[in-house]
Symmetry: C2
Subunit: 449 residues, 2 copies
């Protein structure tokens, strides 16, 4: 008769590292898992900047969730945007991309929604300064980076050219540092000999950071080394600065002493902060849970919500012991939550051990031949850090069919500077018949060579 | 003194096969070439459907023009949308993507603008039925193909599910046939075991064609074989039909006898016709040249415009002896125009031989193990056609760093059905705070498995 009992319904919201590892931990359980995500793919976020920088393709860092989980017969994937949780009725409300809603009932809920880019109350900055959280963000950044050099080449005057060759990055964490390094490498290595008017090497990269360090989480020594490497690479560091205004032509920053400076830059990228997505707020409100300043939901040591043993929050959106928003934390907390549900199903009555994060360290790539790695007492930088980074990332991509492809792409870009994935799209502009002969706006007559 | 003479200015509009081959033919000439294109990449159009179908990445079929031409010291690339030609003043007017115009003077003009998708006067169809001419088109089709299966999986009822699993293709030329084959292969091979509610194999593919044949240009015998192969593959052919209406839920077609039929389909793709872009109209008007019904510009046997020996039209947008719009015609006519300019520069006075197209044949891929190839008296189909297709395309990609990558991607998809490039983006939808608990529109409660 056991077989005919309706299996326990586990709903996982979010298919990032946390959600995926939760689903995997439930593989052999007699449960019915529904994985709800508003994207159809799992994103290998640590390499997103490489997609933006034209080294890797979308498919090399994003795999369809249902392809990853095809052998997990107890998991169904649902492409929908979870908008609310009915805590009393135990159901997730979600909206399908092309209209229509869906209600997904649960017995256990694992919330793994991650964090999104935060503009610290200035959401109007987003249109001028894309963030770096989604595949669409990466493609937008790729478009802006390579378009900037194209626009500089055809600029009407020296001032416009200078503005297109100035790249401002807001945020000195790993993503900002990685992007800064990529832009300088694109300018100095990839685009070598491709332009006739500009010298891509004149590209200026300005990195703005609110604290006194880039890569502050790596500790003073590595942070100092990273700053020196960036400096040698030609990146201009502006530490202790806060962005007060931002538009299509540049940004205004305020120093600690209150002075403000305007920097002209036609490309501004934003990696400065994160905030919880709306679902976290909805859940916190419905379940009476607490949120930290960025909207992360406070959980008990077993990752459940106070008063709701059936709801677990994992990954970046969970607030517990100030754990950082790292892929590794997401994987471990997701797997813990999956195992905890499995133990419940198996009828184990012993109280589970609290979640303990095993710190396996962190790594940030700066440029070819330079990376910083921190793993417990081991602090690496320069070439040894870079080799470690390379080893970790080839190893981490194991589950991906594209490991070979990524290794190949890296070998090519390290050796020759050539980046395979530089193609970008531009909005179409020819529905109209031919334009009037007298053009509007600034007109440059192309000089001979 | 020879060195100080201003070099002859050659402007090429369009960086497709025709424009690229024209630039290459001028490599050793003492001319200053400006290549104007509104995209920064050269597109390997014959494989665009493979990007749409999730086999190849953008970078595998699109290379930056300036990377392709980096060793051509006499070529400068300009990212701008050519909007008009000042025939008298000998200058091309173009608009830069981020504002501002540019005027590019020429001594010789080579127009290689290609053709764009035509909806036969129904431009309002475009929003519901994307065409297949640009990289953006391919990414849009990829999004719609894979999203359709996702939506079918979560459909509220059987009728909605059926609509999402119905794919309508308008146009029975190579692109339409290739897409039809891809959709059936995705359904039957790639998505195998990934869904829990739907059976992807139930996907219906309807192919609508105005004439009595698919692949009519390949001759009756190959066209007949292609029709049988498509039928065996499960594609429903609707020959002799004309689309009279089209919206987000399907299309209405008229048969020869005047009867109309409505077909419900949530995915409609359009490959039915082409028309010249606005610049061709502007040029024809300015130079007093004739255009055929689709806007192609009539050229003399040496590819110049009557009365304008300094203007040549090449590739798909040229009208000469009813030559077809094939990559091979574009390459040969582009190279011819480049050589003709070189001969002028070199002071050759002998009248050039008229352009003669050497027909090297054509090939169309239908599905794994099936293609049709026509090369002079040689007509191949089935496995032999497919092996020939494979050989040609690996050989043709020679200039591309991605030849190895493409061959690898093909080996994987042929062997296992796995497609690496399935990731697609969706518009974001979370600027708002959490939505009201009572959802609007149809709401489905997800049933247990």
């Amino acid at each position: 008769m056991e077989d005919h009992v309706t299996p326990r319904r586990v709903v996982i919201v979010g298919g990032g590292f946390a959600g995926l590892f939760a689903a995997r931990a439930l593989r052999r359980s007699p449960v019915a898992v529904t994985l709800v995500d508003r994207r159809a793919h799992h994103l290998f976020q640590p390499l997103l900047y490489q997609c933006a920088a034209g080294i890797l393709s979308e498919g090399q860092i994003a795999q369809p969730l249902r392809a990853v989980l095809r052998r997990h017969a107890n998991v169904r994937c649902l492409l929908a945007d979870a908008t609310d949780v009915d805590v009393k009725g135990r159901a997730v409300h979600a909206r399908r991309p092309e209209g229509g809603s869906v209600v997904v009932p649960y017995d256990d809920l694992i919330v793994a929604v991650g964090m999104r880019q935060s503009y610290f109350g200035h959401d109007e900055f987003a249109v001028h300064a894309p963030g770096m959280k989604t595949l669409a963000d990466a493609l937008e950044i790729r478009r802006r980076l390579y378009r900037a050099f194209e626009m500089a080449e055809s600029a009407a005057d020296a001032e416009e050219r200078r503005q297109w060759l100035t790249f401002a990055l807001v945020g000195g964490g790993p993503t900002g540092v990685e992007l800064a390094g990529q832009i300088r490498e694109i300018a100095g290595h990839t685009l070598d000999r491709e332009f006739r008017t500009i010298d891509p090497l004149q590209a200026q990269v300005l990195l703005f950071e609110g604290s006194d360090h880039v890569l502050g989480t790596f500790g003073d020594r590595l942070a100092g080394k990273a700053a020196r490497t960036l400096h040698d690479l030609g990146v201009e560091l502006h530490l202790g600065t806060r962005v007060t205004d931002l538009d299509a032509r540049g940004l205004t920053v305020q120093e600690r002493d209150g002075t403000t400076t305007r920097h002209a830059a036609r490309t501004v990228l934003w990696t400065a902060g994160v905030e919880a997505p709306p679902l976290a707020r909805a859940l916190a409100k419905a379940a009476g849970a607490e949120q930290d300043h960025a909207g992360r939901i406070a959980v008990k040591p077993d990752l459940t919500l106070p008063g709701h043993p059936e709801i677990r929050v994992v990954g970046d959106a969970m607030s517990l012991n100030h754990l950082p928003g790292l892929a590794e934390v997401a994987m471990q907390s997701g797997a813990y939550a999956g195992r905890a549900v499995r133990h419940t199903v198996e009828g184990r009555t012993r109280k589970p051990k609290p979640f303990r994060y095993r710190d396996l360290g962190a790594a940030a790539y700066i440029c070819r031949g330079r990376a910083v790695v921190k793993a417990g007492p081991v602090h690496l930088s320069g070439v040894s850090g870079w080799l470690t980074w390379l080893f970790i990332h080839v190893a981490f991509l194991t589950g991906f069919r594209s490991r070979l492809g990524a290794a190949l792409s890296w070998a090519i870009v390290f050796a020759s500077g050539a980046r395979r994935e530089r193609a970008f799209t531009l909005p179409d502009s020819d529905p109209e018949p031919a334009r009037p002969r007298v053009p509007h706006g600034s007109t440059a007559v192309l000089r001979g060579p």
